[in-house]
Symmetry: C2
DNA sequence: ACAGTTAGTTCCAATTCGGAACTAATGGTC
DNA sequence: GACCATTAGTTCCGAATTGGAACTAACTGT
């Protein structure tokens, strides 16, 4: 199977990765959350080649994560802004950065600290059930298959 | 800059992506959380080619996300198991799958529902501050640079 | 002796990437 | 008017990676 066909899978993770799972794409989104909006700014901060950046921005815009907005005419110029759909990816990025802070920081410690403005404390994100408020680990989750794909999604004991 | 050098960046997200940001890798981890452990099972479920799978499993093991454990000798066979570091990626996968459920599900709805065993309700993950308990959005976060990289990480207004 | 199992490795053509140069549309300066 | 600067890309080429298939290694069972 080719990676580009991964969005055909009946799996929400696979479909998400079809939009944001390419190399460089999550770093583009990191910079979006830092306020970067213009092509050359992305290119200089990331060091990615221009045609790869062009491809990734197009995929993000096609996927609805970013929107391309004209910020001037004569000459016509566009910038890229997060949509609501894009802003909803913030928890993914926050958890991934926190994981890197925990396991991959060097001697100087984490490069950035994310401070919660309202309470002034560094953010410590945990996976919590918003129904009961308890924190959630993998073993606390039971998966229920949508009957439409019954028996096709989960591995069997046989392998 | 080459993607393979991205782990040199002073950015926790970039360093995380150096381990788990390649195509297919997060789908390998999805299957790990479903209990898949063996090479051929990953290969058949994912449809990825064998040498790419081999490469990704090696990177995950080298990165400390999976450990390679012998489950028999004569002939020697290994399986891949999540480490604590690997299990700590569950929030990333849960949020990403939830995002796909919300924005990318087809007419039949999300393929899987993640039920919190303790309370019996479907998991609705939100980014929350574990200090004050409030839910957190991008605009609620202020970034503080580690002085070691002062002025080098965040974009300037000038671009 | 021969098929089956499991975890890979090897080979090749096709695709994608990294690096650099180039284009297009326009404004500002000498 | 000629020339440089800005911005967002596109084009070109050699190198690296991928997808697909076949092959290897080390056994077990019949």
């Amino acid at each position: 199977m080719r990676w580009q066909d991964i969005d055909q899978q009946p799996c929400s993770l696979a479909r998400s990765l079809a939009i944001i799972g390419d190399n460089w794409t999550l770093l583009v989104l990191r910079d979006c959350f830092l306020g970067v909006r213009r092509f050359d700014d992305f290119q200089q901060r990331l060091g990615v080649t221009r045609h790869v950046l062009s491809d990734r921005l197009r995929k993000l815009a096609d996927g609805g994560v970013l929107e391309k907005v004209a910020y001037q005419e004569r000459p016509l110029r566009h910038e890229y802004r997060l949509t609501t759909m894009g802003r909803d990816l913030y928890p993914v990025i926050a958890h991934l950065a926190q994981w890197g802070d925990k396991y991959l920081a060097g001697d100087a410690g984490p490069p950035l600290v994310r401070v919660h403005r309202q309470c002034g404390e560094p953010l410590e994100a945990k996976l919590q059930c918003s129904h009961c408020g308890d924190s959630v680990e993998p073993k606390d989750i039971r998966l229920e298959e949508n009957p439409h794909w019954a028996g096709q999604l989960l591995p069997t004991k046989a392998g």
